[in-house]
Amino acid sequence: MSRATALSMSLRNALMMVLFTLAFTGLMASVYQATKVPIAASAREEKLKLIGEVLPKGDYDNDLLKDSVDIGLPPELDLREAGHAYRARKQGQPVAILLEALAHDGYAGDIGLILAIRQDGRVIAVRTTEQKETPGLGDYIDIHKDKKKDSPWITQFNELGFNQVAQAQWKVKKDGGRFAYHTGATISARAVTNATRRAVQFVEANKDKLFATPTGGKL
């Protein structure tokens, strides 16, 4: 092959590659544009649904997602990026703080939690937002995967605060605390229990500021 044809072939191939790249990037960009609005809507919907699991809709009357404080990266919550706490109020009176927490010590990857905690430090409810624990074994920490439908494992934190269970006792039974776990799958339960304790600790330490900080402000 002469040098001229080798060069023209390279040029032709490079040009074709650029054309294909442009065409398929264009395809991706147009799908992205077309799905942007429905994706944002389903993300918001999902957030509200998640909040609905830990705090019944009738318990508050403010626009929760807008009434937030910037809590940064408190060490108790182990967040990946700066987080927000949402304030639920009814007729102007504080009802609960909603926040997310992360446990790095699960069996398989991070466990994400959402918690609703009253101003007096009592947990209203906890739910997992993300978990990759072993299916059928450690995933009972997710209320939807728990086989015990009448009293799921994760509901044992409901209505408890440090006045009901001393901070030192807020552990799984295996570690000398008072929370149940499933034999053979302690790690998942321990991670959630400890993360819940740290979240309550955070609210206990900041409860006045959490409600008093103006909307959109920094804690």
């Binding site: 191939n13 074709m16 590659m17 294909f20 395809l27 799908v31 799905t35 994706i39 074994l137």
Partner: protein, 221 residues
């Protein structure tokens, strides 16, 4: 020239991606912890394979031979992205189950393998059909593998079905107090179970070949 019957037979049995070609092991082993997970990801893969085979076959005369691999990868990545976004927007509850696995389809070499082996040399219609049937063959193995692992590991079948079809629930096959068999759920269980499935396929093939050789009526299979 392959007929549609040949394409189906190849995808479902003779050249089944998971138990004959042993390609695309990453999702096969990682996702097959339950039948629902396996089948759902299998169907998403089948959709991507049908679309990517279709695109590649349509464009095959414009793709220079020397740069075909990067172009094929580009096609696969663009289609996976489109499927990922579309599912997030319009099938959100299913997306919540499969979301993290969809991008993994890009890394599944069976997708590229079928473009290179089939779509690059065939007309659009049979190529699309080939991608779909290969995907269905993969789905069947993923479903069986997931079902076996889930049954041995937890005593249940179809757990997680409520996330795909609301209102349904998992079947408890073994008694509620079944202690579970952890190995089946963990990655080694995937390798061991897949080994048994490959062995079972080879055994059935060998038996069929023997029967065909013994029968004087069968001239050739």
């Amino acid at each position: 020239m392959s007929t549609y019957a040949d394409i189906s037979r190849n995808g479902l049995w003779k050249q089944n991606p998971a138990v004959a070609q042993i390609l695309g092991m990453c999702p096969v082993l990682a996702i097959s912890t339950s039948a629902v997970n396996g089948i759902s990801l299998g169907l998403a893969t089948a959709l991507v394979m049908a679309l990517s085979n279709m695109c590649s076959a349509m464009l095959r005369n414009f793709i220079p031979y020397e740069i075909r691999i990067p172009v094929f990868i580009l096609i696969i990545a663009a289609l996976v992205t489109a499927v990922d976004l579309a599912m997030n927007a319009y099938l959100h509850s299913l997306y919540l189950v499969l979301g993290i696995f969809i991008p993994l389809i890009v890394t599944n070499c069976i997708v590229l393998a079928r473009i290179e082996a089939f779509a690059a040399k065939n007309e659009t219609a049979p190529a699309t059909f080939d991608g779909w049937m290969m995907g269905i063959g993969l789905t069947a193995v993923l479903g069986i593998l997931g079902g076996i692992r889930e049954f041995l590991g937890t005593g249940q079948l179809l757990s997680g079905i409520e996330m795909v079809i609301p209102g349904t629930h998992a079947l408890q096959i073994l008694p509620q107090d079944y202690p579970g068999f952890l190995v089946a759920i963990l990655p080694p269980g995937a390798f061991i179970t897949l080994g048994f499935l490959v062995a079972a396929k080879n055994w059935l093939d060998a038996r069929a070949a023997k029967a065909a050789a013994a029968s004087p009526l069968a001239v050739h299979a």
